[in-house]
């Protein structure tokens, strides 16, 4: 039996499926569903002060990395929205959680020097920066928090925001695409850290207008936030590396704007 095709070779118009900004809709759907499901898995760390955040926070930035800024933001946004709809009591201030998750994925998705999306990061940086300035300004002027306490209470966000605005942004994005697992891990962690900081600044501007924490709470935050961030980074690093290495191994089609 001869194996050579005897039929006439046909010209195939490759259509592919429905997509948003280069990411197949099916990817967006399943990752949104992952976000919703993980929103119900509380991630508690038993340490002084204690605290917990849903595991979904660990993948907000990852979805931006995987799908790109627009598709990532849509996927995270819809996933978070449904989590809020299903269990409003688990979401903190629902609207803020929603906006923060969207901005985080968007910011992470912009962390690449890809020419076509070259300037989009500025949107995220401005939203975060204005939010941060407003928040620190309000703390000092309205609530009488000292400059030192205000800066200390948001040191991580400030550093994160700076690293996002500086060219380090593209460097971290490039590391995510690296074959070297250590660089990949660093890339995922730093992309998560910086984009989370940007989104956090933006969100804090809103929550702070509501909560107006006095200085003492600031000092408390200054001690808790770094710990919380550290756990978030570990979570993001473990998941991000595992998922990206896995995706490369399975050989699934990479969305056009994915960074990995």
């Amino acid at each position: 039996m001869s194996d050579a095709p005897t039929g006439e070779k046909r010209k195939v118009a490759f259509l592919g499926g429905a997509a948003i900004d280069g990411a197949p809709i099916a990817y967006i759907v399943v990752l949104a569903a992952v976000t919703t499901a993980l929103a119900f898995i509380p991630f508690s760390f038993a340490l002084a002060g204690g605290g917990s955040f849903p595991l979904s926070q660990g993948i907000w930035a990852l979805l931006g990395i995987l799908l790109g800024p627009i598709a990532g933001a849509i996927s995270v946004g819809i996933g978070t929205l449904i989590a809020i709809f299903v269990a409003p009591h688990t979401a903190g201030v629902p609207v803020v959680t929603l906006l923060q998750s969207i901005l985080c994925a968007f910011a992470a998705g912009c962390m690449s020097a890809q020419a076509k999306r070259g300037g989009w990061w500025i949107i995220a940086a401005v939203l975060g920066g204005v939010g941060g300035l407003y928040y620190i300004g309000r703390a000092i002027s309205v609530n009488g928090v000292s400059l030192g306490a205000a800066v200390l209470g948001s040191l991580i966000q400030i550093i994160g925001w700076l690293l996002y605005v500086l060219p380090t942004r593209n460097l971290f994005g490039k590391w995510v695409g690296s074959k070297n697992v250590v660089l990949l891990a660093l890339g995922v962690i730093l992309c998560t850290a910086t984009s989370f900081a940007v989104a956090h600044f933006f969100a804090t501007a809103i929550t702070y207008t509501m909560f107006n924490w006095p200085q003492e709470v600031f000092l408390l935050l200054a001690s808790i936030i770094p710990v919380e961030y550290m756990f978030r980074f570990i979570v993001a690093g473990v998941i991000g590396v595992g998922v990206i290495v896995g995706l490369r191994a399975i050989g699934l089609v990479k969305p056009e704007r994915g960074l990995y």
């Binding site: 299903v86 201030v93 473990v238």
Partner: protein, 288 residues
């Protein structure tokens, strides 16, 4: 872990008969108003109104109770933080020189520079409590009373792109499956003999985070099958299609939408012109 799914109230009421669009408008307006108002009394009135509305709409008392119980520690924190430590903020807001104390720490001592709990701080805390409560409660009020089909039609009719609406409805379908899968994965992990209880915090975090890896990867693999399924069902993402369910705005919907907009305008006018809704101290029962 119980079964997670989107739920709707069983009771048929005024709320369930409304179109999703006026409800969406209500969610937005109530959220903005709750955010804006800093008056403890008005805030409390809005919060109580929403609780009553939720109950009338058929939400279970047990749900409201659970919600309050979950928020309780945060509310206590708010009262303590603002009651004890707020000084500059409330004085700034009220243009006062000094605070009125509800109680002072025994022996005239100070805690981190605070002398006791002030009425001004206490009421400010009360305002935030109702603010958060209203922002949360308005969601079940609008969402739990809306059938999924009508929500999706409402989204389509609100000119939300069909692709987004489609992602929304499919996510609703798939997330419970993934949630169950998380249970299976956690179990598989425990059955590898990992004694999570004996690990230090960082090890624990690493092991725990690994749960998400098979979840995401298998979801991505399944998405390939999903694409083939969608193709075989002639899905193109185009909004040019028919819709089985429809939801047309009735006179009540328009009327209600109008009322919401009118009230919203009124609230804004009163707030900016006359300061109604700004922070004030309702009363000081005693002074220590």
């Amino acid at each position: 872990m119980g079964m997670m799914k989107y739920r709707t109230v069983e009771k048929d009421s005024f709320f369930t008969r409304l179109d999703f669009r006026p409800k969406l408008l209500m969610i937005v307006i109530v959220s903005v108003v709750a955010f804006l108002w800093e008056s403890p009394l008005l805030g409390a009135a809005l919060g109580v109104f929403l609780i009553v509305a939720c109950l009338l709409a058929g939400l279970k008392v047990s749900y409201i109770r659970m919600l309050l119980l979950i928020m309780l520690p945060f509310y206590v924190l708010l009262l303590v933080a603002h009651g004890i430590f707020d000084e500059e903020l409330v004085l700034n807001y009220l243009g006062q020189e000094r605070l009125h104390y509800m109680f002072r720490f025994p022996g005239g001592g100070e805690l981190f520079g605070a002398a006791g709990m002030s009425w001004e701080g206490f009421w400010y805390g009360v305002n935030i409590i109702f603010k958060t409560l209203s922002l949360t409660l308005v969601i079940p009020l609008g969402i739990f009373t809306t059938d999924v089909d009508r929500m999706i039609v409402g989204m389509v009719k609100s000119r939300i792109p069909y692709k987004i609406t489609f992602i929304f409805s499919s996510t609703l379908r798939f997330f419970p499956l993934l949630f169950e899968e998380i249970g299976a994965i956690i179990q598989a992990q425990r059955l590898r003999g990992l004694a999570v209880e004996d690990m230090n915090a960082i090890q624990k975090v690493k092991v725990y985070a690994k749960v998400a890896i098979p979840l995401i990867l298998s979801a991505m693999v399944k998405s390939q099958q999903l694409e083939v399924v969608l193709q075989s069902k002639a899905f193109s993402g185009s909004p040019d299609r028919t819709y089985l369910h429809s939801s047309d705005l009735t006179r009540t919907d328009y009327l209600l939408g109008g009322i919401f907009l009118f009230l919203f305008a009124l609230v804004l006018a009163l707030y900016f012109l006359y300061g109604v809704g700004k922070y004030s101290v309702p009363f000081i029962a005693w002074e220590a």
